[in-house]
Amino acid sequence: MNYIASIGSYAIMVKEVFKKPTKWSVMKSLILKEIDELVYGSMGIIIFISIFIGGVVAIQTALNLTNPLIPKNLIGFATRQSVILEFAPTFTSIIMAGKVGSYITSSIGTMRVTEQIDALEVMGVNSLNYLVFPKIIAMLLYPFVVAIAMYVGIFGGWAAGVFGGHTSSADFIQGLQLDFIPFHVSYSFIKSLVFAIVIATVPSYHGYYMKGGALEVGKASTTSFVWTSVVIIILNFILTSLLLG
């Protein structure tokens, strides 16, 4: 019953975010700040993880190709498919749920605890629009991060495959081009756009409606990471069934 009530109040929160917009001149600077904080600030960790994930996928595939009849270009093919379909959009989103999600929950939660949100409301500011809307808009740039993760992940796979002596560069590139379906990239971007909205709103919900003090801010961050991940995993299944099933 509590879960249903939470889903209901989450929906009400999202509706409220789009009401009584903040003055554009103020909102513009808030959006730019959030792009810097949420998107640009996450590039380093995303690039680092993607390189190594791509590399591991290439090595794992190469090590499992024991049958000499299977062509070496399968390493490039498997790396491309794994990175584009799952690792770049889904795995990266789980990382973002931890990094960005906990930041969002703790920053909004601290504002709640220190009555800064009450101060906004008393002034007549729609605090949900002021706090959450710029985060949603900033996270709409998240598919660009996923695109970079795709590129870097495949590059990591190529580097690990070629320099690890598992395949030649020509074989790997041939594998990358083998049976390429452009819709897979679109599918990945659609998923990442949905996940971006989840990453911006679910942690905001946990921060905005938290009660208690500093200890509860920490607990809310953990809870928000768990629920953001759960929602991403469930939506990943649903979107895959709908778009590729």
Partner: protein, 255 residues
Amino acid sequence: MIEVENLHKSFGEAHVLKGISTSFEKGKTNLIIGQSGSGKTVFLKCLLGLFTPEEGKIAYEGQVYSELSLDEKRDLRQEMGMVFQGSALFDSMTVEGNVMFPLEMFTKQSRSEMQDRVDFVLKRVNLIDAHHKYPSEISGGMQKRVAIARAIVMNPKYLFCDEPNSGLDPKTAILIDNLIQEITKEYNITTVINSHDMNSVMEIGEKIIFLKDGFKEWEGSNKEIFKTDNAAVTNFVYSSELFKKVRQMYLEERN
């Protein structure tokens, strides 16, 4: 003027406010006093619209708050200034940024006009060299003054203060009290202060409402509080030996 009629507020089983009726006049410093847990903060938050009462009504210049739409409520809130107990300054903004915030949000003033207004209110609260400091870099008393500056920067009709001098030394507390009273008179604001500081009660309490267990036990002025026979009020206000003596001296002098 703020009129409150038969206000009830509960949280689950706990009935916190039990039928409070009163009014707060323009240009006066109105104090809500009472022991911890008597419902002072809940009452103040109901006045601000942060809590919704189950029963009763609150009217601002005749406008019944509960009958307003969400947008009308937000518009009305732009006429309110609030000084929170913990100041509630935006910690990612400088002192200047905090005070300028309402102007940036709700006015079409140019940058220089906003700057002039910020300089004026910061000077009014005796803060001259703190413009570029962050809230964490200034003292509690200075934070309270910044909070007052932020609350008055839009020329509000109503000023609410939740224990504005808690955690401050006596000298700074008196400065804050005097500042609030001066501002109330200067701008003809309806000021409502939630306090359990007896110095404030004696010094600036033009109208005092005493809450006990969610009921309005007594109301009157700081002059009348000396004469009252209400045992609950005298037990609370004159709980210290010093105030007992002050009251005795006042009554002897009168007789």
